[in-house]
Symmetry: C2
Subunit: 148 residues, 2 copies
């Protein structure tokens, strides 16, 4: 007993989540390039929609990225007209990032792109299976501290 039967690496949940996740990320990245967006820009847009205005440092902490990267993302999104920087009058060191109407629309297009990608990725699954998969992934995301 205790003899581990030989399990293939590719049969593990981790390997499959990693490879499918990478493929998914690559395809999504291609699509949003069309909008002039980088992958993490989408996370920033989503954050602003959900949590309202936030200072750049708050954003960096919430996204788990360096503050200098938030500068680059905010620059890019400002050029696209998707966000505006508003100086906090009470503390003029702070930049409040706010989503513009255009930013909201852009986020909507990203969501549509994700839904289209969903259909493409799960084309082989029947609807109950697809929904069950999404539910389990939601549980997993929640338990791992990811947005869900």
């Amino acid at each position: 007993m205790n003899a581990a039967q030989p399990v293939s690496l590719t049969a593990t949940v981790s390997f499959r989540l990693g490879t499918i996740g990478t493929l998914t990320t690559n395809r999504f990245t291609e699509r949003i390039e069309t909008f002039g967006l980088k992958l993490k820009d989408v996370g920033l847009l989503h954050l602003l929609q959900d949590g309202g205005p936030a200072s750049q440092l708050e954003v960096a902490r919430l996204l788990g990225v360096a503050p200098s990267l938030v500068v680059a993302m905010a620059d890019r999104l400002e050029v696209l007209g998707a966000v505006r920087r508003l100086r906090d009058p009470g503390d003029r060191r702070r930049q409040q990032l706010v989503l513009t109407e255009q930013g909201h629309e852009l986020l909507g297009r990203c969501t549509t792109a994700a839904q289209e990608l969903d259909a493409e990725l799960t084309a082989e699954l029947d609807e109950p299976t697809r929904q069950a998969l999404n539910a389990v992934l939601g549980t997993l995301a929640a338990s791992l501290g990811l947005p869900h």
Copy 2:
């Protein structure tokens, strides 16, 4: 009709696969660093186990990476004693990469690491749910042309 109800980006399968996949990849990468391996080295080891000896250019094509990257991986794995380069006597341009006994053991340790990570990631799921998840991921991987 046809009015799309507002779906959150984070509720899509694509977003969840992307974020969970990235987290999984990061954690797996940390673990195999202990063995002196980079992420894609593991894919190479697995390939050699499954398909037997292969030329470096075949490996590049199968892994979907540049030939120059295979050189770097083979260098690293050769130093670790995990693979050997054998000149093809029939065509001396070709280097046949073969897995050594040590390479086989190393791959085994990677598989164990993935299984441990599986347990960690799916700790919140009951066993039938965990198995159902793995089965659907296997279906997905197969339909997307990924190893499974």
